[in-house]
């Protein structure tokens, strides 16, 4: 009994803590579920549907009214014509109806079958039940009326036509197909895109890591002005991608770019090189002809330039946590600078290098903005992410874009599993 009592009070506190934790976390949960988790599943859903960008606008029915005949004469026979048209290109609308108020002073002679006349609060209302309307369908309904007093067009137009219909929402309907996947996998460029992605990801990540390591090695040494230079080295990462991407585009412009002008001035190139628009260039190096993918290399260079600061920051932080007496001891033992790096610094930073490589690999794989802004995915720089945009919004096939996004997600899943498996526990 005595041992049970404290246990019970602990239970109450524990339960209260549990409830509180749930309360504190629930706003985050809800938002993340709505904006991240739900779209993730919705993406799978869309990838199995043949949806194009134009289908997103909700379908509607348009009805137009037209009056024929002499309105000013009394006792004249008039024809009221309603023309209707559906904006839906793929799906039928059901239970379509519209209603319109007839002005006073007209008498009905004849009416087309789907329509009936009602009197609602002393006004004559025509109500037409069209039923199901096929996609792309259009048609008209004619009313013959007799005018009992002079009328104007405005009297007819003053009443708005009310339309009612039920449409199948294309996003929630239940027809699925594999056509998107068939389409993206059978396209000859898909494997080209995959290859480009892997090149870009691998070299971009490795380059940024190596440059970051080099920068960290330099900035580890104390010298006057180090804090300022460290700040400057972070600029490429901190500045908006849009600004730095366009300044690269301007810098390497074939017509007004400084780099091309400089290359011609110094005699390195005979004519301007279109750095972001040229797929390949033949370069002879030691007698070998090498086919260099120009635009892809430039995009990789940009990636390295923009993200080396991040690796640099992490590696520097790790290096500065190595106790300095280790270096003093090494110095006393006569270890050369290279030996100090190889046997002392490197073992300390190898784990952060591994983590950085994996995480940066994933992020480079996911990168969209940089390539899109530099080349728009042209000239052999189309990666999977750019392909999502290209399929969904340039070709306006949302379904195919979603299918590419699913492929990306599958790769990510694979990388994450690798990441979890190989991350040293203390670094995660």
């Amino acid at each position: 009994m005595e041992t049970g009592k404290p246990k019970k009070t602990e239970g109450v506190i524990a339960r209260r803590e549990k409830r509180l934790a749930l309360r504190l976390l629930s706003p985050t949960f809800l938002l993340v579920i709505a904006i991240v988790i739900f779209p993730l599943f919705a993406n799978f859903w869309i990838s199995f549907k043949p949806i194009s960008l134009a289908d997103l606008g909700a379908p509607t029915i348009f009805v137009k009214e037209r009056i024929k005949g002499n309105l000013e004469q009394t006792g004249e026979k008039l024809v009221i014509e309603y023309r209707y048209r559906t904006s839906s290109m793929k799906y039928p609308l059901s239970n379509v109806s519209f209603s319109d108020i007839l002005p006073d002073g007209v008498k009905l002679i004849q009416i087309d079958p789907p329509c009936a006349i009602e009197t609602v609060s002393a006004k004559t209302v025509i109500k037409c039940e069209l039923g199901a309307v096929e996609p792309k369908a259009r048609g008209r309904i004619i009313l013959d009326v007799m005018s009992e007093m002079p009328l104007t067009k405005e009297q007819f137009n003053v009443s708005e036509i009310n339309t009612q219909f039920e449409a199948t929402n294309i996003l929630t309907s239940l027809d699925f197909s594999f056509s998107n996947y068939v389409k993206i996998f059978s396209a000859s460029e898909f494997f080209e895109v995959l290859k480009t992605t892997i090149y870009y990801t691998f070299f971009g990540t490795a380059g940024a890591l190596i440059l970051g390591l080099f920068a960290a090695q330099i900035m580890q040494k104390a010298f006057p002005g180090r804090a300022i230079i460290r700040g400057i080295l972070l600029f490429p990462y901190v500045a908006p991608v849009i600004a730095v991407a366009f300044s690269w585009v301007v810098l390497f412009d074939p017509f007004s770019g400084s780099v091309n002008a400089m290359m011609i001035e110094l005699g390195v190139a005979e004519k301007p090189v279109n750095f972001f628009g040229q797929r390949f260039a033949m370069i002879s190096l030691f007698g070998f002809q090498i086919k260099l993918p120009v635009a892809l290399s430039m995009v990789i260079l940009f990636e390295v330039w923009r993200y080396f600061p991040l690796s640099f920051l992490f590696i520097l932080a790790r290096m500065q946590s190595i106790p300095s007496d280790l270096y003093e001891a090494a110095e006393m033992d006569g270890a050369t600078p290279f030996q100090q790096f190889w046997y002392l610094s490197l073992p300390h930073i190898v784990s952060i290098l591994a983590v950085l490589f994996l995480l940066r690999f994933i992020w480079t794989f996911n990168k969209f903005d940089d390539i899109f802004l530099l080349t728009g995915g042209n000239a052999g720089t189309r990666t999977l992410t750019v392909n999502v945009y290209e399929q969904a919004f340039a070709v306006s096939n949302l379904g195919a874009g979603a299918a590419v996004a699913v492929v990306i997600f599958m790769f990510l899943l694979l990388f994450s599993i690798l990441f979890i498996k190989f991350t040293p526990k203390d670094e995660a």
Binding site: I35, N43, A402
Partner: protein, 409 residues
């Protein structure tokens, strides 16, 4: 006898490399930064550099100031003599001052670099340690110059292009000098046009609005969340703190199609409100992860003491945890602000209406053949300056923020 074990070889090498490098860089700077006619001459610099490198290995300073002064003057004199009085191709007589200043700059940079690189290296046979130390000094110096150059050139070009006009840009793309003699309204013509014609003030305000709201919502959601994960015991806590990281590996490009479709149908797409929902959702996991790390570092005894004194958990968060973690919260806020300010994809996809464009969205719409390049660059400067300003102002906070959370980019 292994010549590479001789200290004097190091002197040769350091002299040749640094002299050539500075000669090249200063001449290129002169070509693009002034209208002085010069010719790139590497030969004299090369010879001067080697001689001065040997000098630096042979004479070690007793008094550093006098040593540098003598060395720089000696360097300038040697370069002058080696090039037969014309270190920049033409005689010093025309553009007298410009040439002399350039000569002094080249001499100072070269000699200081050479003597610092040579350092304690002696001329005779030296041990492997000193050779390697010499090479690591050489690499260090070259690396520093390399990094400063590659980082600053694109930004320099960005600012300079924005101050040019169309004719001068097309006439000579190499002329990257600023002509201060023209009237300020002409110099800043692109900026004036951006704000008058393209209404960039609205864009700036829109960006600021979205970023500040994002920071606010992110903190509002992530501080309690992080506290819960760090301090409270509940099932799946471990699982939760590791899965936050996974959420944050999901790229925007996967989410953009469903969000575009759903937001279109809900009428949220073409609105700043839509962005204010999406941005926090992408930043909260990062913020939560960063703050969680900080909160777990605060001693739990403080919370217990608070509980004993009758505070509720909310009061503990408000009165104990938040005041103690102001630096961490500041760094998270700055980092989130930076992400929101720089965000491109969602702004590009969602916003159609010019009135609600953010800066990123507005600048993309300037990227057309009808808009001159200097306007585009001026817009890039306008978008960059606030972020860089904040960054430099709060660098200490931001750097710790960057390292604690952001392998993201």
């Amino acid at each position: 006898m292994a010549f590479w074990r001789l200290g004097i070889t190091g002197g040769f090498l350091a002299g040749a490399i640094w002299a050539s490098l500075w000669q090249l860089l200063v001449c290129v700077a002169l070509i693009i930064g002034s209208d002085v006619q010069i010719e790139l001459q590497m030969g004299p610099a090369f010879i001067t550099g080697i001689i001065m490198g040997v000098f630096a290995t042979l004479y070690k300073p007793n008094n550093a100031k006098i040593y540098f002064l003598v060395g720089i003057l000696l360097y300038a004199l040697l370069l002058f003599l080696c090039s037969f009085g014309a270190p920049f191709g033409s005689l010093l007589t025309d553009n007298y001052w410009c040439m002399i200043v350039s000569l002094i700059i080249i001499s100072s940079l070269s000699f200081i670099s050479i003597s610092l690189t040579v350092g304690s290296l002696n001329a005779g046979m030296v041990t492997k340690y000193f050779i390697e130390a010499f090479y690591s000094r050489l690499m260090w110096g070259l690396g520093l110059v390399f990094f400063i150059l590659i980082v600053s050139i694109p930004f320099y070009v960005m600012v300079l292009t924005s101050l040019k006009n169309q004719q001068s840009l097309l006439r000579n793309p190499l002329d990257l000098s600023i002509d201060f003699s023209v009237a300020p309204e002409k110099l800043f013509n692109s900026y004036i046009e951006l704000f008058v014609k393209y209404d960039f003030l609205t864009l700036l305000l829109n960006s600021a609005f979205v970023s500040v709201v994002t920071v606010f919502i992110t903190l509002l959601f992530s501080i309690p969340g992080a506290y819960a994960v760090a301090k409270l015991r509940f099932p799946a806590r471990q699982w939760l703190s590791s899965s936050i990281l996974l959420i944050y590996l999901i790229p925007a490009i996967i989410l953009v199609i469903p969000l575009y479709s759903v937001f279109s149908q809900l009428g949220l797409r073409n609105s700043l409100f839509g962005l204010c929902i999406v941005y926090p959702a992408t930043t909260i996991p990062v913020a939560l992860y960063m703050l969680k790390g900080y909160f777990s570092g605060l001693p739990s005894e403080l919370d217990d003491a608070g509980l004993m004194d009758g505070l509720t958990r909310w009061q503990i968060i408000l009165k104990i945890s938040i005041p103690l973690s102001v630096p961490a919260i500041a760094s998270v806020a700055l980092y989130v602000f930076m992400i929101a300010w720089n965000e491109f994809l969602f702004a590009f996809m969602f916003l159609d209406d010019v009135k609600i464009f953010t800066l990123s969205r507005g600048i993309v719409s300037l990227d057309s053949t009808e808009v001159p390049r200097q306007h585009l660059m001026a817009a890039a400067v306008v978008a960059t300056v606030p972020v860089l300003f904040i960054f430099l102002w709060f660098e200490k906070f931001l750097v710790s923020g960057l390292t604690s959370g952001s392998v993201k980019g």
